[in-house]
Amino acid sequence: MIKTKGMPLRESSDLRVRLSLMLGVSVLSFTLRYELSLLILFLSLCFWLYLFGLKKEMLGFLFWYAFLWIGLSLIRDIPLVKKTALAFVGVYARRLMLPIMCARTVMQDSHGKFMATLSKMKLPRTLVLSLSILLRFMPTLREEFRHIKNARKSRGIASSVVQTLAHPLLSLECTLIPLLIRTCKIADELAASASVRGAKIEGERSSWYEVSMRTKDWILLLGCMMFLIMLYFFDPYLGRLSLWLN
């Protein structure tokens, strides 16, 4: 039996609880109609991030939400702002931010545990394998791009923004082709590595990580879902309340 008392939420909660919350928030992010309801959901998710020890991320989301809401409401009467898409971006981005906040907590598990949970959910192996490769390759891609940029600079090709804009096709060719060739090489190495680790085996696979929904997880899941359902049903009342407060 694994003792979870006193462990931070990120280590003690099951991934499936966080995935369910992400699904619920994703639906609510475009069904809630009133500003006050959105604000309650946003603040609750800030608290959720805090519980996961993601204080830096929480402050980042708080800053952007405040910037997009308060900042834009301060400058909304300026004709240029009225005529441009800034107000729209403010509204759209704030709604998109909500499921992304949940996604941050989903990505907290170690890679192995994440994969073990997805396998436990009986998802197709191709999907689990694709996700595993995707999550591992994204940082590698950034690193490869940086190397190619340095190599380009050392040869005096597209070494500045002005040069890049002056020779866009050359810059593109000198970036894209090496990136594609490197990607092919990495793919060969990854395929060999996955093959050695038994990715081709058809039968049941075991995992180092124990994946199970404990009582605590069920309570957490129930609490989160109750909160989201209540928020959905109280949305019109919260709208009226915000009108009354105005």
Binding site: D77, V89, I133, D188, K200
Partner: protein, 201 residues
């Protein structure tokens, strides 16, 4: 799985190459959309069209290296998985359905340039326009919130309803198709010039 099926259906090595190419394509689209992010209309007209053009060689290399059942679906499905992981579940579902359609277009003819072009055009159109799935699902909610924020009805119409208007979708679709056709054309040229001599494809 018998050996005949194994030869026709995408295997481990092909899965890895297609997933990596799709990840690269996501990076290209994000990079291209960045300068146009202030305007949703221009992010489709400019960002996604440019992304379709630059991502063309990536798609061509992916299907050349993995000309098997599932390659075209996986190239699009990875984008759907990425959207779902990022919390954009409705958009992710649209991309997965788009992947099935792209696969149906190419089914069994993975070396046919015309089929590849049609499949990639479909991919680009669904990827570009599908990125606004929440807008299609809840345009009124966004419009109401913008009106509450003090915007004029004319501005709201221009930002929300014009984005899902058939006329805009037709223009965006046409631009995405042009970008995709050029992308695939450049892709095959690049394949001949760089990848075949280097022994990569």
């Amino acid at each position: 799985m018998n050996s005949l099926q194994e030869n026709k259906v995408i295997g481990l090595k092909e899965i890895v190459i297609v997933v990596l190419m799709s990840a690269l394509s996501i990076g290209i689209y994000l990079f291209c959309a960045m300068p146009f992010m202030a305007s949703p209309k221009w992010s489709v007209l400019g960002g996604y069209s440019l992304g379709a053009l630059i991502s063309g060689p990536v798609f061509v290399l992916a299907i050349t290296k993995a000309p098997k059942i599932g390659a075209s679906f996986l190239f699009f499905a990875v984008k759907g998985i990425y959207a779902i992981v990022m919390g954009q579940i409705p958009t992710g579902i649209v991309y997965l359905v788009g992947g099935v359609l792209c696969e149906l277009v190419m089914f069994g003819m993975y070396k046919d340039i015309k089929k590849a072009t049609v499949s990639y055009c479909l991919h680009s159109v669904i990827f570009g326009i599908g990125s606004f799935t929440p807008m299609f699902l809840a345009a009124d909610v966004y419009a109401k919130q913008m009106l509450d924020a003090g915007m004029d009805q004319s501005v709201v119409d221009a930002m929300v309803y014009d984005l899902i208007a058939p006329s805009f979708l037709a223009i965006a679709g046409a631009l995405l198709i042009v970008g995709s056709i050029m992308g695939v054309f450049i892709g095959y040229k690049v394949l001949k010039k760089h990848f075949r001599p280097a022994g990569v494809a």
